[in-house]
């Protein structure tokens, strides 16, 4: 039997989204970035918005996101993706612009840019990969690193006195009137991935309907940075990250604005 015989249209239950390129991903096996990229590509394809979508990749492991999805991209300086996206979106109001950012990028060096872009209600989508660590630079503490979590710069665990509290930036973003949809998802199981895809789709639909900023956090694993096997990393995330970063919608409003409804967690 050759491939054409096996993959008959009636047997086909799943295929790689057309928008994902054939470049080999540089991500470590077990990393969440790859799944998040795939969901993003599927959503852009399903909404048929390849021609009007502009992606902004960050500094971080996903700096090379532009190698994997066949849309126009701009690579931003560390933390500045929301400002870059603002620039693109303001002079191209017909385009759908999204940023794809890690937690160091979004919640540390780029805190000002994400807050103000969301507060202005820039018409864009933010995909926020929270893996509680700086993956690219070798596993240092991130603003989202949990108390007690061991990283390259907290070898004895994150210490409250020295390092302060982990930052729940998504909850802060949910308070901003410029956002219409703020949610926290994960991609560690097929069921979670399906939910996450729905959330990403809603965020892009919001952008098409000009509903201000939609923000999708994806609680993620960085098994290399955490020094764990992929399976252990998934378990560690469920046990330690989900209690502090609970999955679910934080805000789901008809539109952005001061009256936008914020769900209590």
């Amino acid at each position: 039997m050759d491939l054409a015989e096996i993959i008959k249209p009636e047997n086909l239950v799943y295929k790689k989204p057309n928008l994902l390129t054939n470049k080999t991903m540089h991500y470590c096996p077990g990393c969440s970035h790859g799944v998040a990229h795939k969901l993003l590509a599927e959503v852009i394809e399903e909404l048929d918005i390849q021609e009007k979508t502009i992606g902004v990749s960050p500094v971080g492991c996903s700096v090379f996101a532009y190698n994997y999805i066949s849309i126009d991209w701009q690579e931003a300086a560390h933390g500045r993706a929301p400002a870059v996206a603002t620039g693109i979106s303001r002079v191209n109001p017909d385009k759908v612009v999204f940023t794809y950012q890690g937690d160091g990028d979004l919640a540390s060096i780029g805190t000002a840019e994400i807050m103000h872009a969301c507060n202005r209600g820039e018409n864009m989508v933010v995909i926020f990969i929270n893996n509680a660590i700086y993956g690219m630079t070798g596993g240092q503490m991130a603003p989202t690193t949990l108390l007690g979590q061991v990283t390259a710069t907290t070898p004895c665990g994150r210490d409250l006195e020295r390092n302060g509290y982990p930052l729940k930036i998504t909850e802060l973003i949910g308070q901003l009137p410029g956002t219409s949809y703020v949610t926290r998802q994960s991609v560690h199981t097929p069921a979670a991935s399906r939910k996450c895809k729905k959330a990403i789709k809603k965020a892009f639909e919001n952008a098409l309907a000009k509903k201000g900023t939609s923000f999708v956090e994806i609680v993620s694993t960085c098994n290399s940075g955490w020094r764990m096997t992929p399976v252990d990393a998934n378990n560690w995330m469920e046990e330690n990250m989900f209690p502090f970063y609970p999955v679910g919608d934080i805000k789901d409003a008809e539109k952005a604005g001061p009256e936008a409804f914020t769900k209590k967690n």
Binding site: Q74, A76, R80, G87, I88, V91, E113
Partner: protein, 364 residues
């Protein structure tokens, strides 16, 4: 004849931006250039031409907004003053590295640090030698009048797009704040989306269509051989600028024994100093570099063959003097090059300059 008005330099930057078909301005308030954004907001160009004007949360944000908008092929700009330009340094380096066109206006004030809000030319090094990290150059234009604040906006955009490189208008608090008669440029329409796609679709993020591969705007290249290749290409571009884009003005240099070299407001002052010196019977001329990069080194080298000395006049501790010394040194004519400068926001008087010329060069 275009429309004549009496306007402040900063206001003229705003008016010229609207008239030249600029698509967007992103900025953050700082003295002595806040009138640029204030004028734009009062003019409401979004109704007239569709130009976007946005007050950003910081200069870091505004330069990155410029990066984004410029990456999509639009004609966009920002303005600031010295401390704000320092904050933009990383973004400017990214724009140069990603080879994007844009215009950055620096209405200089005195430093270092918070310094003073008074005029200065102490950002010469920062503007002409790169300013941020990595080997890159800006095209730097130095206006010496309110008229040139008008004329250089469109010129800067033309050069920026010609070379896909950021261009800077290096002004100062004196030119930005003073009012003069200005002949405004005629209105040019903004480019349509179709025109932008046709002209810049090969590199800009205009949206991936079936007729082309997808575009990536980035300054990143992990393969060292390719990155060196990129650097070599940039250097080639800067060399072409040095061949083709040098602009300067010579005033009474034909018979001059001594030449003042000054740009921007210092050059305005030096025109008067030339008159004072000539009234005393001294043969003095003025060379005014209009492009600070590329620098008019060839014309300085030519002058060095026949003059007895140069005095650079700058509102700083002596920065452009290094470029003049280099040009003179390379010419093989060992004539003296001296510097006269005031700092801290003090503007030298024409008499002071004439005196310094006699003391430092002619008498010495």
């Amino acid at each position: 004849m275009g429309e004549l008005r009496l306007m402040k330099g900063n206001e003229v930057i705003a008016e010229a931006a609207i008239r030249c078909g600029c698509d967007g301005y992103f900025g953050y308030p700082i003295t002595p250039q806040s009138e640029v954004m204030e004028t734009l907001m009062a003019r409401e160009p979004w109704d007239e031409t569709g130009m976007v004007v946005l007050q950003a949360e910081s200069e870091v944000a505004s330069i990155n907004m410029v990066y984004g908008a410029a990456g999509s092929g639009k004609k966009v700009m920002t303005s600031s003053s010295s401390p704000g330009i320092s904050l933009m340094a990383e973004g400017i380096s990214y724009i140069a590295g990603a080879e994007l066109p844009c215009v950055i206006v620096n209405v200089q004030r005195g430093g270092p640090g918070l310094g003073t809000i008074q005029p200065s030319q102490a950002d010469y090094f920062q503007s002409t030698k790169g300013g941020g990290h990595g080997d890159y150059k800006l095209i730097v234009l130095a206006p010496a009048s309110v008229q040139e604040m008008n004329d250089f906006v469109e010129l800067a955009f033309q050069l920026a797009f010609k070379y896909r490189n950021p261009a800077m208008i290096l002004s100062d608090g004196a030119i930005g704040q003073m009012m003069e008669k200005v002949e405004l440029s005629d209105f040019q329409p903004r480019l349509t989306a179709e025109e932008i796609k046709a002209r810049y679709g090969s590199w800009a993020t205009t949206g991936k269509t079936a007729d082309r591969d997808y575009n990536i705007v980035t300054s990143l290249e992990m393969d060292s051989a390719k990155m060196e290749h990129n650097n070599l290409r940039f250097q080639e571009k800067y060399r072409t600028m040095e061949e083709e884009e040098v602009r300067y003005e010579m005033i009474e240099c034909d018979d001059a024994d001594y030449v003042l070299v000054a740009f921007g407001s210092s050059a305005r002052i030096c025109q008067k100093s030339v008159d004072i010196a000539r009234a005393k019977g001294l043969k003095v001329g003025l060379l005014r570099p209009i492009t600070l990069f590329p620098f008019p080194k060839k014309s300085i080298a030519e002058l060095a063959k026949r003059v007895k000395g140069f005095l650079t006049v700058e509102m700083n501790a002596g920065q452009m003097i290094e470029d003049v010394q280099l040009a003179v040194g390379c010419s093989g004519n060992n004539v003296p090059v001296k510097h006269f400068g005031r700092m801290g926001g003090i503007i030298p008087t024409p008499g002071e300059v004439a005196e310094a010329l006699e003391q430092k060069l002619i008498g010495g």
